[in-house]
């Protein structure tokens, strides 16, 4: 149940019009995931198209993180298949998969005893050869590129634990970029950040989208973040896909209220709509 949607009004296309014509990089077919006999997610059908920005929204417990984990190969589906470039994910091997998809989870250890540079270098792990003693020149070059793209070269020698929340998020994203994968998967990248840092992270993701033809899949609670960048929005509720459509359709059909059971006011005027949660009774 992947509804074909017309290209969203503001979609930037990097190669043709990705939102309609792009070949799919990943394909989830009848995917389910269960834990202890209870179905958490699915069955779900979803195609991630090359070059698109796909945002996953939905209430707490809808299965957003599970969906991203399945996509990233961190979880194996209980049923159904996940295809990568036409190949079954499990046949691909973990490291090969990590060269195609880079995943930034939301929940990470509170303390990580690494500097920014060391963290970003770890993004090169799937590219290391078996008996490689230290990082190769190409690894160091990829680290430089990643630091540059995110704009945190100056933080290279700083311990991760001493950074602000926004800087830390940028460092994790840089580490994922160093994987040089086709798809970047972000799980709630703006959660727990103050408005300034939220804005920085949103702008960073937007910039990454502009600079390359990379595909981005992100889960978020921040609807405006989704409207601002998404080519398509996946509305997830109770482990099922309610809709998969462009931001305009999402707004005009009142999906936010349908999903969250809360009233939203839509503000128009800019290139993309903005919603505001109505408080009070």
């Amino acid at each position: 149940m992947t509804p074909r949607t017309p290209m969203t009004s503001g979609a930037r296309s990097t190669s043709g019009s990705p939102a309609t014509s792009g070949a799919s990089v990943a394909e989830l077919t009848a995917v389910e995931w269960s834990a202890a006999g209870a179905r958490v997610l699915g069955p779900i059908d979803l195609r991630v198209r090359a070059g698109e920005c796909l945002m996953v929204v939905g209430p707490n417990g809808a299965g957003k993180t599970t969906l991203l984990r399945l996509l990233a190969g961190v979880l194996d589906p209980s049923r159904g298949s996940v295809l990568w470039g036409g190949r079954e994910m499990r046949q691909l091997g973990r490291r090969a998969l990590a060269r195609r998809i880079a995943y930034v989870p939301q929940v990470r250890p509170a303390r990580v005893p690494l500097t920014v540079g060391e963290l970003v270098l770890q993004g090169r792990y799937p590219h290391f050869r078996r008996f490689q003693v230290g990082p190769a020149a190409e690894d160091l070059a990829a680290v430089e590129r990643a630091l540059d793209r995110v704009g945190i070269g100056r933080l290279r020698d700083r311990p991760l634990d001493e950074l602000s929340g926004g800087e830390r998020q940028a460092a994790w994203i840089a580490a994922a970029l160093a994987q040089e994968a086709e798809i970047l998967v972000l799980d709630e990248p703006t959660t727990h950040l103050d408005p300034r840092h939220q804005r920085e992270v949103v702008n960073l993701v937007g910039r990454l989208r502009h600079d390359s033809s990379g595909t981005v899949v992100a889960a978020t609670h921040d609807l405006n973040f989704a409207y601002h960048l998404a080519d398509r929005i996946v509305a997830l509720a109770d482990g099922r896909i309610l809709a998969c459509e462009g931001p305009e359709e999402f707004v005009s059909r009142g999906r936010a209220t349908e999903l969250f059971g809360a009233p939203f006011e839509v503000v128009r005027g800019g290139a993309r709509p903005v919603t505001v949660l109505e408080l009070g009774s």
Partner: protein, 344 residues
């Protein structure tokens, strides 16, 4: 410099960090040598190096037949314990993890006790006792790995409690075995359970050297994966780390080392807890550097504790396990309470 050298990234160890890393290693080697030499010469009977070179002299017998194998055994056992503790702390993401606290050492002791009692005393060869200890360590380690890898995820406190529960169970079964043994076997097992470096020959040293070398090589082979695991299991899986393979590899390596050393020395606690924490502050968390540092530092620490055990209380040869447990118990509490460490 605290962070220098992590991820083994030569490109990221700055010039000063690299120099202080070399400095730290030179210091570590020096400390190890000094401790070893002092441990060779000092004891209930002081010996002089010059006299010990005279063949057949009293000093020569003490130094070459008694002290040297004991010191070598201490270096190997301490090193093996420390690298085991280090890899457990990383894999289980728990600062309090080590073979002793997670019950793996008790499992090994149970396996060894089985062979000692059922095999009719110490007539059975070292390989058999080691094998049984290895099996015991592997069994307990398997349970711990299974718990930690379960889908629902086990909190670190739960993991430690499970380790303690397994430890108690193993101890009870060892007591059961003891009660079935002869008087001789009983006293021997009691002595052996305290953990001691006493009464060994070069055969035991060679045996332990083999397994320590193999186990450490496997752990160093997993250095990248262990480094990436510092960022958590979910991130590591996303980077392409095969978590199951790493867990099984580390468990096998640690079980082999712990099995071999428990068969010789009995279970010695807390070396694997203390040494990695101290050295992490000195050389950073990267496993390419930290693993050899632990191999050296663990050896020096255990030989030092053994020196204390056999010289401080005049006239009594205290088992080294008593000393490490005394130091380690306090250190454990400090980690648990002082640093809020268990929630790392």
């Amino acid at each position: 410099m605290r962070h220098g050298g992590a991820a083994g990234g030569a490109g990221f160890v700055g010039r000063t960090a690299a120099r202080s890393l070399v400095g730290a290693f030179v210091a570590l080697v020096a400390v190890t040598l000094v401790v070893a030499v002092v441990a060779l010469l000092v004891g209930e009977e002081s010996v002089s190096l010059s006299d010990s070179l005279v063949e057949g002299s009293r000093d020569a017998v003490i130094l070459w037949r008694l002290r040297l194998p004991r010191v070598l055994l201490g270096l190997l056992a301490g090193g093996a314990l420390a690298v085991s503790g280090l890899s457990f702390q990383t894999v289980f993401r728990n600062p309090l993890a080590e073979p002793y606290t997670l019950g793996v050492a008790s499992g090994a002791a149970l396996g060894a006790s089985f062979v000692i009692v059922l095999g009719g005393g110490f007539a059975v060869g070292l390989p058999w006792i080691s094998l049984a200890a290895f099996a015991g360590a592997l069994a307990i380690g398997g349970v711990i790995v299974g718990l930690s890898a379960s889908r629902r995820g086990v909190r670190s406190e739960t993991l430690l409690l499970a380790g303690i529960a397994l430890s108690i169970t193993c101890s009870a079964m060892i007591l059961l075995l003891q009660s079935q043994g002869t008087m001789d076997q009983r006293s021997h097992i009691v002595q052996w359970m305290m953990g001691s470096l006493a009464v060994v020959g070069y055969r035991e040293v060679g045996w332990l050297a083999l397994w320590t070398a193999l186990g450490s090589a496997v752990l160093v082979g997993h250095r990248w994966e262990l480094d990436v695991l510092l960022t958590g299991e979910e991130v590591a899986a996303g980077r392409g780390v095969d978590l199951r393979r790493v867990r099984v590899g580390v468990l096998a390596a640690v079980s082999a080392m712990v099995g071999a050393l428990v068969a010789v020395t009995g279970p010695i606690g807390f070396v694997g807890l203390i040494v990695p924490h101290i050295l992490r502050r000195l050389v950073g968390p990267g496993h390419l550097v930290l693993t050899p540092a632990c191999l050296l530092g663990g050896g020096a620490f255990l030989v030092f504790c053994d020196l204390v055990a056999r010289t401080l209380p005049r006239g009594m040869d205290l088992p080294v396990g008593v000393v490490t447990a005394l130091v380690g118990g306090v250190f454990f509490l400090w980690l648990l309470l002082g640093r809020g460490g268990a929630g790392r």
